[in-house]
């Protein structure tokens, strides 16, 4: 009988379902307003060393305001799930905020190219990386959301992606076939940008959900930024539209254009010029430092960043692009 293999990667997060159950048992589940500011949410809910998961899809429906604030507040030694992490990975790499990463997709910006700086960070050897695939990370969040320690799957087997993961080969107790066991992934903090939320944290999402339903259930703390705050009655008028229910949520912040320069389905398209500028300044150390100073460190808030990059006029243009007007 062939020996079953175990990936050589490290598991960075809590594995014990019972300890997570106890954590969730003690979480405040009252229907109370969780409205706060980006600054306050980051300082209160994200600590150095925490493991964070970012909602959306790298450059689509991302919580940019919180990512910038994490960099501004100089958060260090974060763990990070690279579940199609593109511009979000690029921002956190710019701030050198993380030291370990579950990597399914990192350092690239899809069709736009690769981030030179993010690559440098990952090539330095300073970041602990455990390798996964996109489905593997989705299902790791799902296992955590289900409250089970692992889920079986049929992906990654036989490859180096498995070899450098923290998955395990197991035999199916029913068929005897070889399966991959994926450990549950419970982040300390999830940060998710949504189209609409009420002050309690009930969230509606337009377009793809990616893994955000499961990430919200899997994480100890959940920070929501929303394009707009809506009345609780609006949530109740269309309950089928609620992707994240309030008692999972710790903080709600209204951030219009909060996914900029990323795409926000139904609202505005991505700012390709700005994203390409970001990629290009990374080729020149000095220009990159100036660029970050201008766009992150010297901004007192997210609105200032928007204003520096074209303000209302730019947002109008991106809205039209989204709607093909």
């Amino acid at each position: 009988m062939e020996e079953l293999k175990t990936g050589r990667g490290e598991i960075f997060t809590e594995m014990d379902s019972d300890s997570m159950r106890n954590y969730f048992r003690n979480k405040n589940k009252k229907l109370v307003s969780k409205e706060t500011t980006v600054k306050e949410a980051v300082s209160q809910y994200i600590g150095n060393g925490d493991y964070i998961a970012i909602g959306g899809f790298g450059g689509v429906r991302i919580p940019t305001s919180v990512l910038h604030e994490i960099v501004r507040q100089g958060k260090k030694d974060l763990g990070f799930s690279g579940h199609v992490a593109t511009h979000d990975c690029q921002i956190l790499a710019a701030g050198k905020c993380f030291n370990r990463c579950d990597a399914a997709y990192i350092v690239g910006l899809e069709a736009r190219g690769l981030s030179k700086h993010a690559r440098k960070v990952f090539q330095s050897g300073d970041i602990k990386v455990t390798e996964w695939s996109n489905a593997a990370l989705s299902w790791r969040f799902k296992a955590a959301a289900m409250g089970v320690p692992f889920l079986p799957a049929r992906t990654m087997l036989g490859t180096d992606t498995f070899e450098y993961s923290a998955g395990k080969e197991i035999l199916c107790p029913f068929t005897g076939n070889k399966l991959l066991a994926l450990p549950a992934l419970h982040p300390d903090v999830a940060v998710i940008h949504v189209n609409r939320a009420d002050v309690y944290g009930n969230c509606q999402i337009d377009g793809i959900i990616v893994a955000d339903d499961d990430i919200a259930k899997a994480s100890k703390r959940v920070i929501i930024t929303t394009e707009k705050i809506i009345d609780n009655e609006e949530i109740r008028n269309d309950p089928g539209k609620t992707i994240i229910p309030f008692w999972l949520v710790d903080a709600v912040i209204e951030v219009p254009f909060g996914s900029y320069p990323g795409n926000m389905p139904g609202e505005y398209f991505s700012d390709e010029e700005h994203l390409l500028e970001w990629l290009s300044v990374e080729n020149d150390e000095e220009r990159f430092v100036e660029f970050l100073e201008k766009n992150i460190y010297s901004c007192k808030n997210f609105n200032e960043y928007l204003m520096k990059n074209g303000g209302i006029e730019k947002m109008r243009k991106l809205r039209r692009l989204e709607k093909f007007i």
């Binding site: 689509v60 090539q123 989705s138 036989g158 377009g207 793809i208 990616v210």
Partner: protein, 257 residues
């Protein structure tokens, strides 16, 4: 035929012809997406296009920049989770996945993770993304990329995404779903399949204007040349017109050819 076309246009056209009407395909951005769009607008109007981030059957109004951007759900029939797309693949409900270029070896294994030592990489690339899952779980894997000895190499540093692994029955023995695996590789030189027994790459068709010597002159490993192989028909005027005017009018992809 005197019609002029570049390599990118040729590869997209051939790739599109490999997607039959009624099939379900998961595509990435770039060439695979362009090919699926061209297929829909030519011989396969009922091709169902999925995107791994959650887009189901959009009427693509333009080339997506991200496999999760809003174009991937434009006038679609569903916007869902990545888990649901991958679960449909795992359940056997998806016929093809269509992956872009990377390092590829004779058994169709792909590298998109690192060049050099894993812990101190010379170059770090994005990693699997959804590629490993799609190639593990959909029935047939199509790969489209320009061919060169550097890209077609048996020295791949990291098997990110499974082809036939070490050949023969290795895929099934590893536990991957039965009957799945690499199907076609479409390059600027030819169209390749895999030997039924050894699972090594072999020539199926030569592209217009190519000679059989081009195949192995542009590969780092030996591609099998069977006694009989076909010739690819050149792109038609109609295919090129639709590709240039409707699929990629801004020349985002075909401009690279």
């Amino acid at each position: 035929m005197s019609t002029q076309y570049n390599n990118m246009e040729l590869m997209i056209t051939i790739a599109a012809r490999n997607l039959e009407d009624g099939a379900v395909v998961v595509v990435g951005t770039g060439v695979p997406c362009a090919a699926a769009m061209l297929a829909q607008k030519t011989r396969s109007p009922n091709l169902t296009i999925l995107f791994e981030a959650g887009g189901v059957a959009p009427r693509l109004p333009a080339m997506p920049i991200s496999v999760g951007d809003s174009r991937t759900t434009h006038k679609g029939i569903k916007a869902t989770t990545m888990a649901e797309i991958m679960e449909m693949c795992q359940a056997g409900l998806v016929d093809y996945c269509f992956l872009g270029g990377a390092q590829i070896d004779r058994y169709g294994n792909l590298n998109s993770t690192v060049i050099g030592d894993y812990y101190r990489p010379k170059t770090r690339f994005p990693g699997s993304g959804g590629a490993n899952d799609l190639a593990s779980l959909t029935w047939r894997t199509l790969v489209v990329c320009p061919q060169s000895p550097r890209r077609f190499t048996d020295q791949i540093d990291f098997v990110t995404t499974p082809g036939y692994l070490t050949g023969g029955n290795a895929r099934e023995e590893a536990g991957l779903p039965k009957g799945t695996g690499p199907y076609r590789v479409i390059t600027d030189i030819g169209v390749y399949g895999y030997n039924e027994t050894t699972r090594a790459m072999e020539l199926r068709k030569l592209n217009p204007g190519r000679i059989v010597e081009d195949v192995n002159e542009n590969s780092g490993f030996e591609i099998l040349i069977p006694e009989e192989y076909g010739m690819v028909d050149p792109p038609t005027e109609e295919e090129l017109r639709i590709l240039r005017e409707e699929v990629d009018p801004d020349k985002i992809i075909i401009g690279r050819g």
